[in-house]
């Protein structure tokens, strides 16, 4: 289906020619309008005869051009276009016509010209009509217009192919399942023993890891609390001078200015640090993904394992992004978001492609942002250093603070030069704290009270954490002191909020002292815990050493075990030995107090043990334990393969049908799977069966895609055909309308209805009746396509046209305003339909929008929204009619007649149908319409009729 058609049906925006054969098609279009000859004068007949002869020569020329162009297109590889031309030539050569009078187009044209030259026009009319039909067929071929029958046949074939492929896929899936089951059953006693031993080792390793984590957890908690208490001490030290009401003058002003600058510097450095961390995390994730690819390429790990590893790398980047977002300190939230966003992009790149340019680009972007942040921070540090040196006050604590801030910023600059953003940030914080202690910061009592309360809350939390972290005496002391500090801080906050904030000084001082005591006690507790952990971890190291020894022995045992296949022995022994080495490393790291290294080693040991177990199960050979079962599976696999090949052969026989590429691959992998099963090597057979199933699913999807394309083509063709039908109906109805109006005029002029007029009216009535029948036929087709509203419009027209035909014909022969009004209504509905169809055709010609799956959506002839729009128009039309009816009632002033009542019944009937259509529409959308509450009806007048509104007839 990659072949280029003479005209691409999917891209046709008009039905005119476009491509290689466009000249031919144009020529053909010129040939088509040849008018049938009527009774003409001799001279006119002669001219027509000459014209006919010329047309015949043109057809001959057309045939020659088609033959030549077909050869050329074929040689250029445009086989589809060449095929269309070949079919066109065949069509020209084909004889058509009634039995016994079949002729080719050219022969018929030659005979027409001959008859005309012999002045026998009466004999040529049918032949000319036949020529027109034949040329139209030729045009259809060259335009590559699909006929509905052919499309529906192709669709049915595709449907069958999809079903066959799905059936084969399901069979393959079942085979795979049974192969796995057989594998499980077919494990030898030696394999089961080895697998159990490996599982036991893995269980023990997991237990060691779990115990180690529990031991370290307390230490981590203490470290965290000690750090927190340290931060609280510093925060309280910063606030204390302000609480004590430290004086501020010129010196204070200069310090405050420097303090402000120090805050800006701290922010710049925090940004640089956050981005540096993000860059490191992103690089680590990318390296992990890259390593996984290399390992997969060298066969060390499977493609699935590599994919999982890449997913884990993407998750790692995302986790780092979340961590960056969480770590945001007050005032630097934007910075954290920036780092998190950059990491998120890396994570997305890793997840979407897992490699290549996208990841590189994301990393480059992150590196560029990080460089820029680092440069800015350096500039800020250098600027601050200059300011701090030049604007330091003359003497006193502020002078010392400014000098120490200058030194700290110089240190920050140096750290940045070395690429140590964390150290730089720390230095900047030191500068900031020095300045804050010298008198900067908050002085408003209410703000100070808030700060004190915050510190108090954190101290209380630290006290609680200390209780859970350790049962040592030091830890208890730290907890008591932290709790006491919390109380003092609460008192200080209350005093600050009182009318005499000066009283806040003593409790604030007391709080600081208690916090310092708590910090010291927590440090002691931490040291004690650190000293104790070594001794508690030693048994774990010993356990792991013993485990390593067991693993080493097991590796040797597996390597020499008789009941295993050579591949089982080799793979499982190697992986078990690797696990032993990783365990030894884990024990060493534990003794050296390197927790992270120890944990990574245990993880590596567990991975190796899992590989060993996989080696056992995947390299199993049931050729000895269950040879018959394996052979039966092999036989079934061969049968599936035969069916795949048969399907591929059948598809090959149909030149215009695409052959799914995956089918060949499915056949090949099925053959390999069958061979492996024959040998009883299930470890080798399973992946091949998986591949076969995957290729079959792909082939099914490829065919399904093609089927969808044909479905769209069929719908487009259907729309064109309906459009053609509609155009014919509109033409016939317009002619009937014009004749009715003319006859009505003549009748008024004559004052009576003549016999000729009656004949004319009968013919007009017949024509309208024919249009009514066409409406019924096309309406039925539309209803079958679920285009209910469109079908309803045609149904309404059918009903009106039958009424019109009845009125126009005997005995009524009515041509009055009412009949003509109905004709106008019919014409309006036709116009609406034509417009809606045009809209739909235009919509389908537009390419699907990017980023949507609209391509797969077009599976209905008329979409719901188009139907809803049409329903709205119908409702508006019904309202207009009701309004017009109401106006007429005013004129009648009580003189209502039967016709008026009849019209009201018709209005009610039509409206009821609109309601039904809307209900159907809702149901189609899965929404069950609720019953109306009749609120209005229960209102000012009348009572609602019993039960729901009935269908009016």
């Amino acid at each position: 289906m990659d072949e280029e058609p003479l005209m691409n049906p999917e891209k046709r925006s008009s039905r005119g020619p476009r491509r290689g054969g466009s000249a031919l098609v144009l020529l053909l279009l010129l040939l088509l309008p040849a008018p049938p000859a009527a009774a003409q004068s001799d001279a006119r007949l002669k001219a027509i005869a000459e014209q006919q002869a010329m047309l015949r020569r043109r057809v001959e020329g057309l045939r020659q051009k088609m033959e030549g162009l077909g050869r050329r297109l074929d040689s250029e590889g445009r086989t589809h276009a060449a095929e269309l031309l070949r079919r066109g030539v065949e069509r020209l050569a084909r004889e058509t016509g009634p039995a016994g009078e079949t002729k080719t187009i050219e022969t018929r044209m030659a005979e027409i010209a001959d008859s005309l030259s012999r002045e026998l026009p009466g004999q040529v009319l049918d032949d000319q009509q036949r020529v027109i039909t034949d040329l139209e067929e030729l045009l259809t071929i060259l335009l590559d217009r699909q006929d509905l029958e052919r499309l529906e046949k192709a669709l049915a074939e595709y449907q069958e192919d999809v079903a066959n492929l799905e059936r084969l896929r399901a069979e393959e899936s079942q085979l795979l399942k049974e192969t796995r089951e057989l594998g499980e059953r077919g494990a030898s006693a030696e394999e089961r023993d080895a697998a159990a031993a490996l599982e036991e080792l893995a269980r023990e390793e997991r237990a060691i890891e779990s115990a180690s984590r529990a031991l370290r957890e307390n230490l981590r908690s203490l470290e965290k609390v000690a750090g927190e208490l340290d931060a609280l001490v510093r925060a309280q030290e910063r606030l204390l001078p302000a609480i004590q009401g430290a004086s501020k003058g010129e010196e204070g002003s200069a310090t405050a200015d420097l303090l402000q600058r120090a805050r800006v510097l701290a922010q710049a450095l925090a940004r640089a640090r956050a981005l540096a961390e993000a860059k490191a995390a992103a690089s680590a994730a990318a390296s992990r993904a890259s390593r996984a690819e290399s390992r997969a390429a060298s066969g060390e790990i499977s493609a699935e394992e590599a994919a999982r590893e890449k997913e884990a790398a993407a998750a790692q980047a995302r986790e780092a992004a979340r961590e960056a977002a969480r770590a945001g300190r007050p005032g630097s939230e934007a910075t954290s978001r920036e780092a998190a966003s950059a990491l998120e992009k890396v994570g997305q790149a890793l997840a979407s492609s897992g490699q290549g340019k996208e990841v590189e680009r994301a990393l480059e972007d992150l590196a560029a942002i990080e460089r820029e942040a680092s440069e800015r921070a350096k500039a800020a540090a250098s600027g601050f250093e200059r300011e701090a040196s030049s604007r330091a006050p003359e003497a006193g604590s502020a002078k010392e603070a400014a000098e120490s801030a200058a030194k700290a910023s110089a240190k920050a600059g140096e750290a940045l030069d070395k690429g140590d953003a964390a150290a730089a940030e720390q230095a900047a914080r030191e500068a900031l704290e020095a300045l804050e202690q010298a008198g900067g910061g908050e002085t408003d009592p209410a703000s100070l009270a808030r700060e004190e309360r915050k510190i108090g809350e954190r101290a209380a939390e630290a006290a609680k954490a200390l209780e859970g972290a350790s049962a040592s005496e030091s830890s208890g002391q730290a907890s008591d002191q932290a709790r006491g500090a919390s109380s003092s801080l609460a008192r200080a906050a209350s005093e600050l909020e009182s009318t005499d904030p000066a009283k806040a000084g003593p409790p604030a001082e007391e709080a600081l002292e208690r916090l310092k005591s708590a910090r010291e006690a927590a440090k002691r507790a931490l040291e004690e815990e650190r000293a104790g952990i070594r001794s508690r971890e030693e048994p774990l190291a010993e356990r792991e050493e013993a485990l390593a020894e067991r693993a080493r022995s097991l590796a040797e045992a597996i390597g020499g075990r008789e009941g295993l296949t050579p591949r089982q022995r080799e793979g499982a022994s190697k992986a078990t030995a690797e696990s032993s080495r990783a365990m030894e490393e884990g024990a060493r790291a534990t003794r050296e107090g390197e927790e992270a290294r120890a944990s990574a080693s245990r993880s590596a040991a567990l991975d190796a043990l899992a590989r060993a177990r996989r080696s056992l199960s995947e390299s199993r050979n049931v050729g000895e334990t269950a040879p018959e079962e394996a052979k039966k599976l092999a036989q079934r696999q061969r049968e599936i393969r035969e069916q795949i090949l048969e399907l591929a052969r059948r598809l090959k026989e149909k030149p215009n049908r695409p052959r799914p590429k995956s089918l060949d691959s499915a056949g090949a992998s099925a053959e390999e799977a069958a061979d492996s099963l024959d040998r009883g090597d299930l470890g080798e057979a399973e992946p091949k069966e998986e591949e076969t199933e995957k290729y079959l699913a792909q082939a099914r999807d490829e065919v399904e895609q093609e089927r969808s394309r044909y479905l769209r083509l069929r719908e487009e063709e259907l729309l064109f055909k309906i459009g053609d039908e509609l155009a014919s109906m509109i033409k016939a109805h317009d002619e009937a309308r014009a004749r009715t109006a003319a006859l009505d005029g003549e009748r008024r002029e004559a004052g009576d209805l003549t016999r000729a007029m009656k004949v004319g009216l009968r013919k007009t009535a017949e024509a309208e009746k024919q249009v009514a029948e066409d409406c019924a036929r096309v309406g039925k087709a539309l209803a079958e396509e679920e285009a209910k509203v469109f079908a309803f419009l045609l149904g309404s027209n059918e009903e009106d046209l039958r009424g019109i035909a009845e009125s126009l014909g005997a005995p009524e022969f009515a041509t009055d305003e009412r009949v003509q009004g109905l004709q106008e209504d019919v014409a309006d509905r036709f116009a609406k339909l034509r417009e809606a169809l045009k809209d739909e055709i235009r919509r389908r010609e537009r390419p699907p929008e990017q980023g949507t799956n609209e391509g797969s959506r077009r599976n209905r002839l008329v979409p719901d929204l188009a139907e809803l729009k049409m329903l709205k128009q119908l409702e508006e039309e019904a309202l207009d009619r009701t309004q017009a009816f109401g106006r007429r009632l005013e004129f009648l002033e009580g003189e209502e007649d039967a016709f008026t009542r009849g019209e009201l019944t018709r209005l009610a009937h039509r409206h009821n149908r609109i309601t039904e259509l809307f209900q159907e529409f809702m149901l189609r959308l899965g929404h069950k319409p609720g019953e109306p509450e009749d609120a209005d009806a229960k209102g000012e007048e009348g009572s609602p009729p019993d039960g729901p509104p009935r269908r009016l007839r």
Binding site: E875, L879, G886, E895, T915, L925, P944, L952
Partner: protein
Amino acid sequence: MNAPLARIPTLFLPFLLLAPAAFPQEPEEGVKEDLTRLFDQVHKDLKEIDRLLLEAGDDREAAEKSAEAVAGMKKLLERVQGHGQSAVKAIEEILRKAPT
């Protein structure tokens, strides 16, 4: 022309699948609720119009050419207009809110 096409029994999925212009994602929960409410509103209005037209057509007194009865019928038709305009407005809102 006779292959019945599969239906998807979800209220808004057809809009997503078949809308003339593509809609990249499912409507938000609030929009879904609005659409449900609007569909019910249209349905109620249409049913009420049916009822009113039926009542007007069945009016025996009007059939007896009573001027009062005709005036009553006109009132019914005015109410038809009110419900009709409400229905059209709700459909327009559906068309606006539905994924297009």
